[in-house]
Symmetry: C2
Subunit: 400 residues, 2 copies
């Protein structure tokens, strides 16, 4: 059994999260991913807390499973030349370095596609090339602030803040993988590759506007932007006797079942709550009832009741309890694994299933430069050439 | 010019956001998307605030651009039969109805693929079929609570809450489109379709664990889960004299430039802040300095300074200011458009660019059932058959 991208080869000149999650997904579906790192390694090796050895923290491991690592000094011309020789042998090139740096290294779309017309070149940028912010550097928080992500918190609770995970990096990386899939599909029909430009700002601004342009989608606006149901400051797991429970009761059938469950059947005919349009008008009161009605029973009791009455509900998981969730264990999303150099770890599984075949679990994430010599040999470099690169400090094998 | 999915036909039996954002993306890249709605329409037509006419609010418009709408009563056998006839003519079938309901309607993967072996069937579920929560209903908040999304807020500020946008629906819908692209690629090679299962819980749990398993990735854990930099309660746009600015300063070069910019060059050699590993250890102090150092100048002044010194930075956008952002206007992400029935609106553009061809802007979102008769005729139903469906209230054309 093999995943849908079996046989696709990807060269990944990216770091931190936006590029690595893109190529993680490609790898999970069967692609071979060659990760190009700077001599000191992907910044994420240093930015994300403790591991058992330098540069091998948990966050790095979890975004880089199954990849091969080559560490090259791209400040030396021989390093650039080595990179270009590998690039000539792959199907897909992914990078999140700025367009001017791509040109300086000769790894922009025009340069690489001139030598390899079937190549799909994916450039993840901060801001699209057609507007005044083009070429500016961007990281997750910059994009969260510019695109309205932080603005959703201001509209909800009064204070702008960032989502406590890298939502811009992570989302746009997933989108980049999606676009590469579409380009691979087109290449099967046309025989030629192409260049894809994936600007983070535009993607996240579209995302937030789709969610929250709302009444301001009309000219003149019918009201301020923002979906007030989703922005409700009461948008929280609901407190029970011993914890929290998470519910959704949007349809009339679900809302009525909820009112029955909490022993308030009269609300089913209350003109504020009987129909979906009425509940949308009275979101504040409806959410207040939900937030203050569950204190008399435990989470387990409520889950049993909601399950029986067909109100969508689930337990609330903390970051710690998630690891022990019985469903995640049962489906193989959380399993124990020995890393060849880092010892016992938790491996995160692949969430999706293809009837036409799935990729078997990939090996754990690589140490810096672990596969450099093999990758260069596969690209046609001789043993002497590789030795010279090693000798000149162009090829790095292991954390300095 | 045409997008990479030009010629692909998609039948979409989904509602609210997780399915509609999936097919929105497919449509944006050139696919023809047929949206199947219940007689009263997609729940999102009623759940998301005001429009100029019933069922045509801004959120619905922004998730359903370019689609065709057919409204069918699937409680009547003739409605199911009509749906199955359309399904036999498409490349991709997307649904988020529960597996047992799919079987009852005969639109599960086995049933539809028996009649159309090239069909790609994509089932977005709440929880994967292999675990104890299989078959349970799920909506965005249920998944945010179960998957650790709400738990990231508890780890950051002490209180579990939901992200104020539909991050589970939106993310998993983007992933579903990605997986469909991979399956289309494989179909070009094998000639046969396949079934894809996309469980929301597993996808979002993987997402949060990749971000935050951290030190708990090791057995025994090296520490509690959570990337403390990203969970910092100071993870916010930084206050200036007249507003906020968003920055990122992760590399040594960026952090040193930031210290110079705020007139505190001595911090460049401070053992707490000189190197990335030291700043990670002293995140709290570092973030505190960032949050309290910018009050003396305006946002515009800081942006000019940060631009000059190569510190990634951007203005902070509210939901309102986003619409007027000059970059978004310049690249066509925000433009004025007349909806044929709803009047003057804002249209959100397509964020990504393919050198091999892009889809021209799609028409605005449809009214309920606007294309029903044409879709049935295209699937081979005769005028008499269509009239009979109309007469029996199986085919609905317009909001009741």
């Amino acid at each position: 059994m093999a995943g849908p991208l079996d046989g696709v080869r990807v060269l990944d000149l990216s770091a931190v999260v936006v590029g690595p999650i893109c190529t993680h997904v490609l790898c999970e579906q069967g692609a071979e991913v060659i990760k190009v790192e700077a001599p000191t390694g992907d910044l994420l090796r240093h930015l994300a807390g403790r591991g058992r050895s330098a540069g091998m923290n948990g966050k790095f491991l979890n975004f880089n499973r199954g990849k091969k690592s080559i560490a090259i000094d791209l400040k030396q011309p021989a390093g650039i030349e080595a990179l270009r020789r590998v690039a000539a042998t792959v199907d897909v090139f992914v990078t999140n370095i700025r367009p001017d740096a791509q040109q300086r290294l000769g790894v922009d779309a025009d340069a690489l596609r001139a030598a390899a017309p079937r190549l799909i070149h994916c450039s993840i940028t901060g801001f699209g090339s057609g507007g005044p912010y083009a070429g500016r550097a961007a990281y997750d928080t910059v994009i969260q602030g510019a695109s309205g992500v932080a603005g959703t918190f201001a509209a909800s609770t009064g204070e702008p803040r960032y989502v406590p995970f890298l939502v811009a990096d992570h989302t746009v990386g997933l989108v980049a993988a999606q676009l590469i899939g579409f380009a691979l599909y087109r290449r099967e029909k046309t025989g030629i590759g192409e260049a894809i430009e994936v600007p983070m700002f535009e993607n996240m601004a579209a995302y937030i506007m789709q969610e929250h342009l709302g009444a301001a989608s009309f000219r003149p606006p019918l009201g301020p932007p923002g979906d007030h149901r989703v922005l409700s400051p009461d948008g929280k797991p609901l407190p029970t006797k011993d914890g929290f429970v998470c519910i959704s009761a949007n349809t009339d059938a679900q809302a009525h079942a909820f009112f029955d469950a909490i022993g308030r059947p009269e609300l089913k005919t209350d003109p504020r709550f009987a129909k979906v349009a009425q509940r949308v008008q009275h979101t504040k009161e409806y959410f207040h009832i939900r937030a203050t009605s569950l204190g008399g029973r435990t989470t387990a009791e409520w889950l049993e009741i909601f399950d029986r009455m067909d109100v969508p509900a689930s337990p609330y998981n903390t970051l710690s309890s998630l690891i022990d969730d019985p469903h995640l264990r049962a489906v193989g999303m959380v399993r124990e694994e020995d890393h060849p150099t880092e010892g016992a770890t938790i491996a995160i599984g692949a969430p999706n299933r293809f009837s036409g075949g799935n990729t078997p679990p990939r090996p754990p994430a690589p140490r810096l430069g672990a596969d450099g010599a093999a990758i260069l040999a596969q690209a046609g470099l001789s043993t002497d050439e590789i030795d010279a690169l090693r000798h000149d400090g162009v090829l790095i094998e292991g954390m300095p």
